[in-house]
Symmetry: C2
Subunit: 229 residues, 2 copies
């Protein structure tokens, strides 16, 4: 009966790793200022308010933590966690959401974001509560959905190159893909991307064609990760 309900966010983005030129998958974490788990890193989140639906609460938390406007990101429910002792303060059930964002030009600038930071998912600190598990589930969901949905574009800005999409796949799957075949696959799968009719400039090499997200919800045929090998 007397449950508390929270939403927790697994906010993922692709950021250039410290030394390498390649991007890698990062997650937004906040440092807890109060017990329990004081000082530990945790997923951002908070209580669901009395009048709020679950997606509303997730949107609100996401806006509070990142300041991104509603259109420029993907947000979906991930799973719900409610083990009796997952929070020492009482019976708290948390509904986790997965958010995918482009690499923000301005760093995280939310209200209580003083202690918020991006962490490479390959080098995580210890997390509070059962957040390590939730995060692992979120990463696995992202990996799986790249196969059969055009979700990779949610990590990209409104206009992007095929190489940008490839960088997303390589960062999330953690393995290199053939640029030539990837290009063909992305441009030939119906509804994945739409050409803008412009090209990039300024960088080295041949300028790349710019694309926008297409209207497909699923990729057919899918873009399968190579067998585990």
């Amino acid at each position: 009966m007397g449950f508390q309900v929270t939403v927790d966010l697994v906010v993922l983005t692709i950021r250039s790793a410290r030394q390498t030129a390649r991007g890698s998958l990062h997650v937004l974490l906040v440092r807890r200022g109060i017990p329990p788990y004081q000082g530990r890193w945790a997923l951002p989140g908070g209580f669901v308010l009395d009048h709020e639906d679950l997606p509303e609460a997730a949107e609100r938390e996401l806006a509070e933590e990142t300041g991104v406007d509603g259109a420029a990101r993907h947000l979906e429910q991930l799973a719900t966690y409610g083990a009796p002792r997952r929070d020492p303060r009482g019976r708290v059930v948390t509904v986790a959401y997965l958010a995918l964002l482009p690499d923000l030009p301005s760093p995280v600038a939310g209200t209580d974001a003083a202690a918020a930071a991006w962490h490479d998912v390959a080098a995580l600190p210890r997390l509070a509560f059962d957040h390590a598990r939730i995060l692992a589930d979120g990463v696995e969901r992202a990996r799986a959905k790249l196969e059969y949905t055009p979700l990779a574009t949610a990590f990209c800005p409104p206009e992007f190159t095929v190489a940008g999409v490839r960088e997303v796949y390589e960062a999330v799957w953690g393995r290199p893909l053939d640029p030539r075949n990837f290009h063909r696959k992305v441009t030939s799968t119906p509804g994945f991307v739409e050409p803008v009719g412009q090209r990039t400039g300024g960088s080295r090499g041949r300028p790349a064609e710019l694309y926008r997200r297409g209207d497909a919800v699923t990729l057919y045929p899918p873009l399968l990760r190579p067998a585990s090998s």
Copy 2:
């Protein structure tokens, strides 16, 4: 703060439709004996107890409603629904689970199952609360997971034929599949099924080889439904 938390079950099975020989997808519904929505059909479910984890509560409800033992079925979390006015009695958040069962030889024989019945998902009555939405999400989840997991075998008894698996796919996807190609696909995908070394008998036509579930968690390559057409 003061939330109530329930679990609701989308219990699916394949049953022979009234007149046709082919099986079709059915869902377990219970008729509500008390307000709200008295007399309406609803998904089985109930409150999560103080000491219970979410999967435990789902297992308990499933056992209460169907009496199936733990091993012979698939049970996974589906999604969580918590709109402020989804239950007129107060703020109730429900964690929905999806269960897949073989067609039970003995009909539903649970404790409070006097008013429980299987319904063809193609001919549903009006449902209580937001259960129509939850059920639709469950059916869609099942449809999608048949593509890239060996979950179809969860609808089959411990030993089954390839034709039995095909009947599952045809019922869930609602379209016929080529028996010859399907047979090859199922028997050649690693870990999907294991031959038992016995054959069926008694029916018409050539006896079919019997199989058990394999140990694969995902199908590679997947078994994609034909493009929407």
